[in-house]
Amino acid sequence: MPKTTRNKNNIKHGTIELVLLLLLQKEQKYGYQLSQELSDFSEGKYELKETTMYPTLYRLTQNGYLSFEQVKVGIKRTRVYYLITDAGREYLQKIIDEYNTITQAISLIMQKTGTIS
């Protein structure tokens, strides 16, 4: 029996860091806000569940690309605001360049294989 791929949406999984950094490049935001904006900006075509988003945000923070601030918003309620760092901006530029290169390469392959005209 062939091994099934564990991760569904492999391409989407590879772009999670890119979209989160894009949303955070101008101002600090919290998790729920990020998932709402993602859905609004992509007109519902790119949805990211919070259970998928938070581990990625944590990893970006551990790598120094994001910083966070915990703010008390109610009784026993803490909101975490994420903010991009300088290292994060450099990393974002790097992955934007990589994304552009890959999408151009894939378009060329699709053209040459007759998948798209």
């Binding site: 998790g31 729920y32 569940k49 938070y54 581990p55 909101r79």
Partner: protein
């Protein structure tokens, strides 16, 4: 109805906590943020079910399949912590065992010991205690091969 919704929320949070296998620090941060988001969502959407929470926030069962690739710093820190803990435990065990041996030796020696004497008592040399450099503690018993065993 309100009780049913609270039950759905509690169950969802419980399932998420069970499914998340990251380290303690990341789990704590994750749950805090999720609670805040859930509060905002449940205020905006008062008529929610467990399935609605799954659809919006994600399936808790999928958390265990989400592979969190640790950063280089986190991996190095984790390895360093393990080495530190192992070293502390090893050194502690070594110190405990040697301290216990030292004090046991002292106590055992201070209890005195049997002296077997051969020949005349006035020919006996007094041993010096190697720890205190004082004369021997009084013997518990003394035996004189010449006289005691002959009895």
């Amino acid at each position: 109805m309100k009780h049913k919704k609270n039950k759905a929320l509690k169950k969802y949070l419980h399932d998420v906590k069970k499914g998340y296998h990251g380290n303690y620090k990341s789990k704590k941060l994750f749950i805090e943020q999720l609670k805040d988001s859930l509060t905002t969502y449940t205020k905006e959407n008062t008529d929610y079910t467990y399935e609605d929470l799954q659809l919006t926030f994600g399936n808790p069962q999928e958390l265990s399949t989400f592979s969190e690739i640790p950063s280089k710093t986190a991996t190095v820190k984790k390895a360093f912590r393990r080495i530190t803990v192992f070293s502390i435990i090893t050194v502690s065990i070594f110190l405990i065992v040697h301290t216990a041996k030292y004090f046991y030796g002292k106590w055992d020696y201070s209890r005195g010991y049997d002296i077997e004497i051969q020949g005349a008592p006035d020919e006996i040399d007094n041993n010096i205690n190697p720890f205190t450099h004082e004369t021997d503690p009084p013997a518990i018993k003394t035996y004189n091969f010449g006289t005691d065993y002959a009895k």
